[in-house]
């Protein structure tokens, strides 16, 4: 028994602690994101799920369990009971698939549950997916359905949509730190530039700061090009215990931290409008669990549902000081070749934001980066990456840290 084993032994037999396994990502898959009028909810999930299984070199019958994140399939498509639906369509009955929901953080929370299922020893091969089919309804209907991520009785019912909630955060931030609309716009410009090289992205066109500033106001100061789009799409990753991972891939990526925090669901109950406290708490837990600091992160996917959200995220995650994040995108520090590359996928803004899929897409993108498979959007020598997924206006935050083994 070596020293590490001795500690585990004492922990279990004397302190009655359980012992968890190390967990790796061994396959990733994406559907094309966009207005996917050719496919429904189940077909999109299958497109990503099958791609992830093929990437891991696995067959359906080798899966032990699944998790899927989707926010509002009941409202978007009249379909709940997604676990049964997808086990059926993937052809893997009677394997259990569990659907989880945490608004726009549904994917991140699903990944955390999948991680737990493997780490605990309950299951070996677990597929985790996220999916949302959003474009079958009008923009007004979609906006109302997304409002269900906030406090229905005290926000949505009173007329506060999500662009309005984030606009209030943007105004508070701009006022406090003297940021301008062009600083926000720089986030969108950078993310569109990144998405040019992303095969699955919804928007692969470059835009300029002027384009953003001149685009139609949605909720001042946020304009259309400050907002992530309405997107159909799905993403999936396959997990297994690290010990088994080399049977499936030469480059397993380990999940070295998984953290989930909540905050007041309504914006008006928060302590501050210019930070997302749940992000700070989840990040702190994750850094501690992984025994790393923000400086150790080589690449990150963060939740930029609106441009202001990316600025808050890169501050709350500790990459930049509070009140200085807005300069980072503007000065090019967060581009692919900058000192802290953020959202090489194009983020929610340009890759698209199929709500339940976003948290899984982030993990997929970071996995590709750490495996040196990100082609012409590759961050050099990326060894540790972070995924940051937010639900609502900050009622939920999930942070995962991944590392190439």
């Amino acid at each position: 028994m070596n020293e590490k084993e001795k500690v585990l032994f004492i922990n279990f037999f004397e302190n009655k602690k359980a012992i968890m396994r190390r967990v790796a990502i061994i396959g990733v898959g994406f559907s094309k994101f966009g207005e996917r009028w050719d496919k429904g909810l189940r077909e999109l999930a299958l497109e990503a799920g099958i791609a992830a299984l093929e990437d891991a070199g696995l067959k359906g019958e080798q899966i032990d369990a699944g998790y899927v994140g989707t926010m509002a399939s009941g409202s978007f498509s009249g379909q709940e009971h997604i676990g049964s639906l997808l086990a059926d369509y993937l052809g893997i009955n009677p394997i259990p698939i569990t659907r989880v929901e945490a608004a726009c953080a549904s994917g991140g929370v699903a990944l955390r549950q999948g991680y737990l299922a493997v780490a605990s020893g309950l299951h070996d091969i677990v597929i985790v997916g996220g999916v949302e089919k959003m474009t079958d309804l009008s923009t007004e209907q979609v906006t109302e359905i997304l409002g269900a991520a906030g406090d229905q009785e005290w926000e949505l019912f009173m007329g506060a949509t999500f662009p309005a909630l984030y606009a209030m955060m943007a105004r508070a931030y701009m006022h406090k730190f003297n940021a301008k609309e062009e600083h926000l716009a720089a986030v969108a410009v950078k993310n569109h530039k990144h998405a040019k090289n992303v095969p699955y992205a919804q928007f692969r066109n470059e835009i300029t700061i002027e384009d953003v500033l001149n685009s139609k106001v949605v909720s001042s100061p946020l304009k259309v090009l400050d907002c992530s789009p309405i997107t159909d799409g799905a993403a999936a990753v396959v997990l297994c215990p690290l010990d088994m991972a080399y049977s499936y891939t030469k480059k397993p990526v380990e999940i070295i931290a998984s953290a989930h925090a909540t905050d007041k669901i309504a914006l008006h109950s928060r302590e501050s409008l210019y930070e997302i406290k749940a992000t700070k708490i989840a990040a702190e837990k994750a850094y501690k669990m992984a025994n790393v600091s923000p400086k150790d992160i080589d690449v990150a996917e963060v939740h930029d549902c609106f441009t202001i959200a990316e600025i808050l995220a890169i501050e709350d995650l500790g990459f930049f000081k509070k009140g200085e994040g807005y300069k980072a995108a503007y000065e090019g520090l967060t581009t692919l070749d900058g000192e802290m590359p953020i959202n090489t996928s194009g983020g929610l803004k340009a890759a698209g934001h199929p709500v339940g899929a976003t948290g899984i897409k982030q993990a997929g993108e970071i996995t590709l980066q750490l495996q040196n498979r990100a082609e012409n959007r590759q961050v050099k020598n990326a060894e540790i990456g972070l995924c940051h997924n937010v639900g609502g206006s900050g009622g939920t935050a999930v942070v995962h840290i991944l590392k190439i083994v």
Copy 2:
């Protein structure tokens, strides 16, 4: 190191198996079930959650995590992001609460995730709840929303509601085994009789076989009194590692098995119409995990969304032979003082069926029975109990086995 510890030791260090902890239920709470026009979704969840915490003698700040099952809060109440909402209203931010959904088995699946969170060692004190607020809409709207538990594209869209799907199963069963409408009716009569003694139940009135036979046809052969009602309600249980349980209760109830299986979501794709295969598979797994047989079960809560569903359940769970379950209720074998007491809570039929809450209510009821706290509905000497929760027309089944320690 004793023999059992040696096996664990070898498993972990040589076979790289994780080690899970034993998990106990230490508190239960119910909201009153019924047409609760006095309370919304969040208040119902709180009513049950606070009752469960008080039952365990715990304060909110002692909770490490939560899980909540709800099927369709988005469609019923315009509210998703239930984890954040309830962490907020329970006053326990930043603790993570995770919402899971599996149609009418949402509660059972939530319990399984909560069990896993404790067993794995990730969390110690975990609250698991279920809630549904259904009576704010018309019966037609509710019927359509519940249809989302089936295959939206191939069943609901074509006009097949849930009463229609179960009516087809009832017809197939009656034809195959020569059962009559009065045999089905006997299930409802028995469950109403049980609910008379259940404080939280929606319907505490006795009914007769004639009442059922003369009630309005919903989808022949199912009549109104063959169907579970539309109900507002919530239930909660508190879990912790068995080692810690005696700090909170003199009578911890251990979860000795937790199993979840899926099947084709659409009825027309199933192998048989007179059995629910997912129930059989989940039960088989659960009996194996707990190392017990159906004969060892002293009391069970089964998923009687329609009278025919209870008959299928008691057969598929192995309490009665296939084709003979219909005689059991008719002959009184499944009453409180019968040889196999089923649904002492009154079941979904008479206690009510707030969809997401049902699986948790079942665990709460069985816990009370095993702790000898079920008052005038107490099953004598009950030591081992079973909970059986179904999603849709059988696309999901979850089975838990509980035992007094």
